[in-house]
Symmetry: C2
Subunit: 598 residues, 2 copies
């Protein structure tokens, strides 16, 4: 299995050069955060990811998690790596300083999340889910709740989960059944079964704090009758430690296609003691705090698997000898040429590279917007960032994970038959990637969110805000002949995107199914155009650095060449998605459910 | 896991109605073969596939094959199912009557191969590979060799393998190293290591006959120095039974992503006794006999996984309740609507259905052409069929398996998070499907074969032969207003296909890399257009039957509606592939191998 090497140079390019985080932090008034500090984090994070986590990736997959009598044991080395992670202070990076956190903004830790996740996605699920619980308690908890849970969750000594899904409902949370009965002491008894609870039970932390969706007695039906509860595995002892065991237990763990070292638990709440967090019946609204976070976290997974597919494929493509180059031998003294000489192998490598690097830029941009949503100096600044982030989050989540899955499959394909063999690690990358387009809202759900809620329900306002940014960028670079190959097509696609959206909007007014039929193709179209903008942005920055004589010429030239590949060979896919949308929805709705098969 | 139900109605539609096999057999002078006989086979085959093989599909995946001291044990039930298969006379269907075969043409057994393969692809690899060995010995063996091996191979008491790949070479067989030293008795001592040998060792048959590629001493370098040898696991005893054990042994089996119940063996030949088959140094030419067969066999796998993804997805989509239809509740008394009401779920189901049924038509058409290649009454007829089959085989192999993999992934996606869980079987379908775009020549290799060897090297002749057939079909139906929605776009794509090919040819004359860069997109483009032809053909037949009042209206209407979906929603993908091709190859070749990563 090829070793994972953290792409530090590329991370820094996006963070420091493209997104200019130094200026961003200055604008937000975060004097203590700057690129020098971030660089130190990146170096340390890379060591941890490469040396501690990556070596456990394949062994964790082979061993999987163990379940016996309610106890989950993680694969060898996982617990120890987690202890080192806590010891290193990593969980506390983004936490509230009041509770022991370092108070760093999201953009400062996004690259750390990427590197730990790429090194070992299964492992990174344990601390990853915890962040969601922390964010929820920070946003909606009472002072007492914060005091009780945040210190240990922030340090990582405890971990957290999000308990949403039930056996009969995933995306449609409105029909969930778990119950919460009020008790005389102000607490609640929580009863119900939750499934697909990542890190619901494990052996890494002394306590696990579940955030649980449940219904109060006589709550309204549907999504407006759901409340949120804190249900710890062990009740607190009032001194910051753990007390009595609560009536929540893991019933079993799932046997899955991939991320096998991540414990996916069935959690049984059997009159467990819980504490209401946030207002009654407003649980779903409170959950949104967490959901954008979780979606961005899953978008990182797309980058992770694209990067692994790319790195693994590249190593093999340079080593493996087969056939001769179509333009004459490139390794005349050897029995054959390395397969990286073949155009189709390069097509797969460059596609994966373009997705990994383009996806990285998109995800980091979302993290930067997240900072502004939270810390922007004016209401207007916060609102603007919020709108843009709301638009880009479903694109980042769904498009980047679809792209990651494609790249992971290219990784296998480059290895030929060897890609199918476990020891090379490329097939694990596909299996691990496969969950990313499913959980935290499938691609179909993200697409409905994008087209329905974000675009059509705002009468296109959120999209116009973004296409305006793209338009301004194109205008600003209109006279730069070196960028013409990017700016001209980008401006065209940016216009076409608006027109396509309008056309869909008109059709959807006649037929509500139209938007549903268009949604996934629209999301993919939007993803390709969004990435085109980011690639043009990166090419412009690379060209600027070359013109300024910043050194690193090979790196900047490679950026420009990859942007060119993206525009020439990947962006044309938009035509297929546009054509499919224009094919309309009638041919999809016309067939009676009973006549699909005979 | 949803039960597999053999789509008998659809198989009969393709065989009897679309391809009109009765007329085809009459033309070939095969009086004893007809649709009545085939129908009986289909019924029996379906029982065997559904009752004997399908139940072992998931258990075989969970258990896998066992290896100990050179002995391979197949999962529980595999051996017994194979014994029943032999007892039922199934292996002999296509065999030469002189050696106990039933002499049926390939088109008569293709549906049986599809149903056994879909029920349990791993299991079907054991008899499947055997057919290749049989075909090779039938075509190139001496009378003595035929007498020695064909009776038991035909009956299925023995099985066969094809030993091509070595650790350092797969597609590039020119660099293989296995050696064959001539012995005084006319036999050879074969020495070398072969990998990825499916069914190389197992416990189902009393003998295994390996067909092995190796080099004679002083053979020319490259592909012109390879010869073919028969190397049986047990030497024959001269009376049709087994004698002494030969020096060939299984060194290990691979741990794979999928088809885990199929033993993928490392085979060590340690001075094993072998017999030359076919002329010296012409081994690769002889292999071609087998290769088209094997490619078509792999194309079936695309149909298999598309069908399983479709059937599994359909079952779940009708059962699972989530959300309400965008056009109002369809299940008002339930807590939510079945997800089949949602356009995006229908998009995935219809895509899978269109691939399964369209792929089936293409693969069966290839099998029909295979009959004509072998049994055509005139040289011209045989040659014409051969040219067309040569063109369509790489399309069938690569496009149908890519489509199968996509459909298998849709199957997972329709299940949401549950698709990732092993017990539902949908993730196994993806893992099993993943090999199909890799073995028997990757998609990239098939694409080079199609564009390079089949299209450009014939100056487009093979393609023109096919586009002429499509053109004639369009002409013949030009006045049929009911078919206009299919005929008009098909005629346009058929023209565009020719133009695109010419444009590529011109570019490739300037730059040999151009074709390499275009190949996979060209293959996908060609696949979509080829399937469009088959869908138009099926729609025309369905419409004809409706007009004739043949009954079965729901079935024929579903055909037409699926054709419409294919034309409206799938065929536009061609624009993406065409655009990518037109993006050229420079952006792919321009990046130095050392500058892919920093």
């Amino acid at each position: 299995m090829p070793e994972y090497k953290v792409p530090l140079r590329d991370m820094r390019f996006v963070l420091n050069e493209v997104l200019d985080l130094d200026a961003h932090y200055a604008k937000l008034g975060l004097e203590e955060v700057n690129s020098e500090l971030l660089n130190a984090f990146l170096e340390e994070g890379a060591k941890f990811a490469e040396n501690e986590l990556a070596p456990l990736n394949r062994s964790g997959d082979e061993e999987g998690c163990h379940f016996e009598d309610g106890v989950v044991t993680t694969p060898q080395g996982f617990k120890e790596a987690y202890a080192k992670y806590v010891e290193g202070g990593w969980p506390a990076m983004g936490g509230d300083p009041e509770f022991g956190g370092q108070g760093l903004p999201g953009s400062a830790s996004i690259a750390i999340s990427e590197m730990t996740g790429t090194a070992n996605w299964s492992w990174s699920m344990y601390p990853g889910l915890s962040h969601g619980a922390v964010a929820t308690i920070e946003a909606h908890g009472t002072d007492e709740q914060k005091q009780a849970y945040l210190p240990k969750l922030t340090s990582g000594e405890w971990t957290g989960t999000m308990c949403l899904t039930e056996p009969h409902c995933g995306s449609d949370l409105g029909i969930l059944k778990s119950k919460a009965e009020p008790q005389a002491d102000g607490s609640y008894k929580i009863t119900g079964t939750k499934i697909f609870i990542s890190a619901g039970e494990h052996d890494m932390a002394e306590n696990i704090v579940h955030i649980v969706l449940a219904r109060l007695p006589d709550a309204p039906k549907g999504t407006k009758g759901i409340s949120l509860f804190i249900v710890p595995k062990f009740l607190t002892d009032g001194n910051g430690g753990v007390g009595e065991r609560n009536a929540v237990a893991c019933g079993s763990i799932e046997h899955k296609m991939g991320i096998k070292a991540s414990a996916t638990c069935v959690m049984n709440f059997d009159g467990a003691t819980g504490y209401l967090i946030g207002p009654e019946n407003k649980g779903l609204n409170c959950m949104f705090t967490f959901m954008n976070f979780a979606r961005l976290g899953t978008a990182i997974q797309g980058v992770a698997h694209a990067e692994l597919g790319f790195q693994g494929g590249l190593t093999y493509a340079k080593d493996r000898l087969a056939m001769r180059s179509l333009s004459g031998p490139k390794n005349p003294d050897g029995p054959a040429d390395p397969i990286i000489v073949h155009p189709d192998v390069r097509r797969m490598l460059l596609t994966s590279k373009a997705f990994a690097e383009g996806g990285r830029a998109l995800v980091y941009l979302c993290a930067q917007l997240g900072d502004s949503v939270k810390l922007g100096k004016t209401e207007e600044e916060r609102e603007e960032a919020h709108e843009l982030m709301a638009l880009l989050t479903p694109i980042a989540k769904a498009f980047v994970t679809e792209a990651g899955l494609e790249a992971a499959n290219h990784g296998v394909q480059i290895y030929g038959g060897h890609g199918f063999i476990r020891e090379w690690g490329m097939e694990q990358n596909v299996r691990d990637a496969r969950i990313s387009t499913l959980y935290e809202g499938t691609t179909g759900i993200q697409a409905l969110d994008l087209l329905g809620r974000k675009v059509l329900m705002t009468q296109g306002k959120a999209l116009r805000n973004f296409t305006k940014i793209v338009h301004k960028f194109c205008e600003a670079n209109a006279d730069n002949t070196d960028l013409k190959e990017f700016i001209e097509p980008l401006a065209g696609y940016n216009r076409e995107w608006g027109e396509l959206t309008q056309a869909i909007g008109l059709q959807a007014m006649q037929n509500p199914e139209y938007a549903g039929g268009a949604a996934v193709d629209y999301l993919m179209y939007s993803g390709y155009v969004t990435l085109a903008y980011l690639w043009a942005l990166m090419a412009a920055k690379a060209q600027e650095q070359l013109a300024a004589g910043a050194g690193d010429e090979a790196f900047y030239n490679a950026k420009i060449k990859t942007a060119r590949f993206y525009f020439k060979r990947i962006l044309p896919r938009t035509a297929g998605h546009k054509g499919a949308i224009e094919g309309g929805v009638d041919s999809m709705m016309d067939l009676d459910a009973e006549h699909f098969a005979f």
